[in-house]
Symmetry: C2
Subunit: 333 residues, 2 copies
């Protein structure tokens, strides 16, 4: 069986910088038409100069002019109207991190108080710049996303014209929020469609499946699967593919992040096939994102075929999800 995906998009992507960027970017460029680039470098992307230079390094690393990096800024309360107007056509979204909540987020906002956030959000709303959010509280790890829900609700109500993307949602609760507020949308990762906390810590502890937000309960995964495979128009694929060198994963303090870029499309096809939903993959990995973000992606066709793909044990010094395992689909290259 063969399946052609038109202009697949990865709407939540970490490409890092330097040597790691060169290692991982070509994989996204090979299989995707574009990706929303997360701005949480060690020095977060908060200036036009940093943004443009990073975009240039990404394009160089991709070595493929058929991949479009949709750039984002790292949310700051002190962005001015002038700054946002000046950069409107250079960015696709602005990403908000609560301070300290995940990798390289120390420069994030200290408070989710609406009043503090309002000046920037009002301008974003007016300029139609979508707001992407890492939505977790600082509470107990299994509760963080749900606890953040009330903040999503406040934001959605206070800024009805602002498109708010709940990034990498992991709970049935968050899927439920999509139904209640018109201006809430969501990305879902590959790994949260596959794993629960059982795969991370139910048998041996598996650092290469450790991510933030942490994988949740079986009923949560089921809700995500249902939304993704039913072509729910408010959800889109965002891999959150996040490479770490092996020494940062297999250590006494393992960093959060799962690298999936080279195998995401075959693994998604495998999952959608099990659900008899292959016809909805196009919506999940491209069409929904085009509508939500109002983008016209570069033309690229990726053919998937239901033949075995042996996943590499590593890509450079990065161990991917499914390392050494065999997937049921591969890209027909």
């Amino acid at each position: 069986m063969q399946l052609t995906i038109k202009s697949p998009l990865d709407m939540h992507l970490h490409l890092r910088d330097g040597k790691m960027l060169k290692n991982v970017a070509p994989w996204s460029a090979r299989y995707f038409s574009g990706g929303l680039i997360m701005p949480n470098l060690v020095e977060p992307i908060t200036t036009q100069k940093a943004l443009m230079e990073y975009k240039k390094r990404i394009l160089q690393a991709c070595g493929d002019d058929s991949f479009e990096p949709y750039m984002t800024l790292f949310f700051k309360n002190d962005y001015t109207r002038e700054f946002l107007e000046e950069n409107r056509d250079k960015i696709t979204a602005i990403k908000l991190y609560p301070s300290g909540i995940t990798t390289n987020s120390d420069g994030g906002v200290k408070s989710m108080d609406i009043k503090t956030l309002s000046p920037v959000l009002e301008v974003m709303s007016e300029l139609e710049i979508p707001l992407c959010v890492h939505g977790e509280s600082d509470g107990f790890v299994m509760d963080r996303e749900k606890e953040f829900g009330k903040t999503y609700i406040k934001l959605a109500k206070a800024f009805p014209n602002l498109k708010i993307i709940m990034e990498h949602i992991t709970t049935a609760y968050s899927v439920g929020l999509l139904e209640k507020y018109d201006n809430l949308f969501a990305t879902i990762t590959l790994h949260h469609l596959y794993i629960t906390l059982d795969e991370v810590a139910g048998g041996v502890l598996r650092p290469h499946l450790f991510c933030k937000p942490i994988a949740k309960r079986p009923e949560d995964r089921e809700a995500l699967l249902k939304a993704a495979t039913s072509a729910h128009p408010k959800v889109m694929f965002g891999s959150d593919s996040a490479p770490h060198p092996i020494h940062a994963k297999e250590s006494c303090g393992c960093a959060a992040g799962i690298f999936t870029a080279p195998l995401a499309l075959p693994a998604l096809a495998q999952l959608f096939e099990v659900r008899n939903a292959l016809e909805n993959l196009q919506a999940f990995v491209s069409d929904n994102a085009c509508k939500i973000y109002n983008i016209k992606p570069l033309k690229k066709e990726i053919s998937l075929i239901n033949e075995p793909m042996e996943v590499a044990n590593s890509y450079g010094d990065v161990v991917p999800m499914f390392a050494g395992e065999t997937l049921k689909w591969r890209v027909d290259e």
Copy 2:
């Protein structure tokens, strides 16, 4: 401040075998008067010969005749009355593992069906041999202990004269069971009094805090702390100190188990002090166990003093809990 603990007992202890036994046993012997030795070696202890030889190796490894290894057999449905009678005075308890539920438990019982277990449990009840249980279902990792609760209830009702020890309990639910059934008792580990899933996977992933049952929620830890520090007569200290070499912890599939033997008493004192409950430490680490198991421990006094203890980074190739950290109490040696 000084505090003397009389005959501290560790009623759930993994000493392993061979080189590892020689590495870890001296620490238990140094600080405890005795310990209940878990039988889940690679080849589980199921014969008198294996039991007696293991006990001999333990005593040799301890190099200290003031430590008593309270021996256990690995529960098997095919133990005969004759076998149990013959070994009655050689064992303190029998430990039951559901098959595959934790380290070296593959030879455990395939089913917790009461009828299947009854022949052996009836004889144990008659001979007053306590039953220690690793109580987890094969369900979702955060639910396993609670799901096993109905099995504890069935066992408690079916064998009212059998002392059943719920090993290393981790939930408020299990603490609640203690109140409802006279013949249910429990051990609580050091680490489950300190950590929740947050410490394991809420920041970076910390393999040296990965254990089974996995650490649960804040309200669960609170219930355990309340039971332990209030000298609840049905709970006793069982460290579940379980050494693994560093390469089995900091790897792509980390083994479950936390090594705490060398620092357990100072860490407990620190915890009980915070709760203004130092006067209850004696009950938790010795007196309750003596009553529950009806044992007269070897005389040994351990003096604890509220001066800093620098925890070693490793003991041989084993990384302990609190590696490299400073505790507020130490043993006055």
